[in-house]
Assembly symmetry: C2
Homo-oligomer: 168 residues x 2
Amino acid sequence: MTISMYEASVPVFSARLKALSNVLATAEQNALERKIDPQVFLTFRLAPDMYALTRQVQIATDHAKGAPSRLARREVPKYEDNEASFADLQARIAKTTTHLETFSTADFDGSDDRMIELKLGGRETTLSGMQYLLHLAMPNFYFHITTAYDILRHNGVPLGKATFIGAR
Amino acid sequence: MTISMYEASVPVFSARLKALSNVLATAEQNALERKIDPQVFLTFRLAPDMYALTRQVQIATDHAKGAPSRLARREVPKYEDNEASFADLQARIAKTTTHLETFSTADFDGSDDRMIELKLGGRETTLSGMQYLLHLAMPNFYFHITTAYDILRHNGVPLGKATFIGAR
């Protein structure tokens, strides 16, 4: 009746990032076919005070590298946030996936009730590992990968939800 | 190092639905203030072949009522999908939340490796309870609540991600 903190995090991030990579590959190909400057997609926002596509992908990967690292008491890898092309975003996703591959189930021993300290909205906050994963990292991660997908769908990129989920 | 299938599902659905209810309440209020017919928001789609807001909320609640029911071997409640106003959507969310409150941790005994039979894209599919929850129900649920939020942000409703997450 239980699942490991590893199963609830690493394979979920990995599978969704693989799907995100496919979503972005479809978008890049579509820009080429429609003779649209890829920057149009990369800098598009659904609202003026929402992040553009590139930033959505950056934040999604931040959660995917950050959550397992914090839960396993490892240092969170620092990325420079200087991605400027689809190829750069693919490289960032690949780097994140490679980082995820370094974790094993044992790295998460005791992480469900270990207290995790975080800065949220400028304030120091403490959450159990389980609360952090299920109620902060995952909702944020899903928010940013979905919004990346929504930006591209809004721009006419031919995608289906199966690609988002990673079913194909 | 483990979390229960209950913790990984019921409180996650409940917390996010509460946040979705707040998002929709903000949208309804905003329509009133801006003298916009609420139907404009309810029927808005980010792309012509994506679902409108009302359907996004319907499908999100479908996953929130369906996943725990299937995992606990209970019948999935049937809803009529006839919501036509913000009040109707709020009632649907409330009904789903009340259904979620009927579950306890013990209902999920053995659900992680119990095989769940589903129809996916017209084909019969079998997944373990864990795979179903983490790799099908949750990604779909998050997809639809995020897209509901994105539709409203795109329409100028003043929302922040903290409202989506349910942090406030």
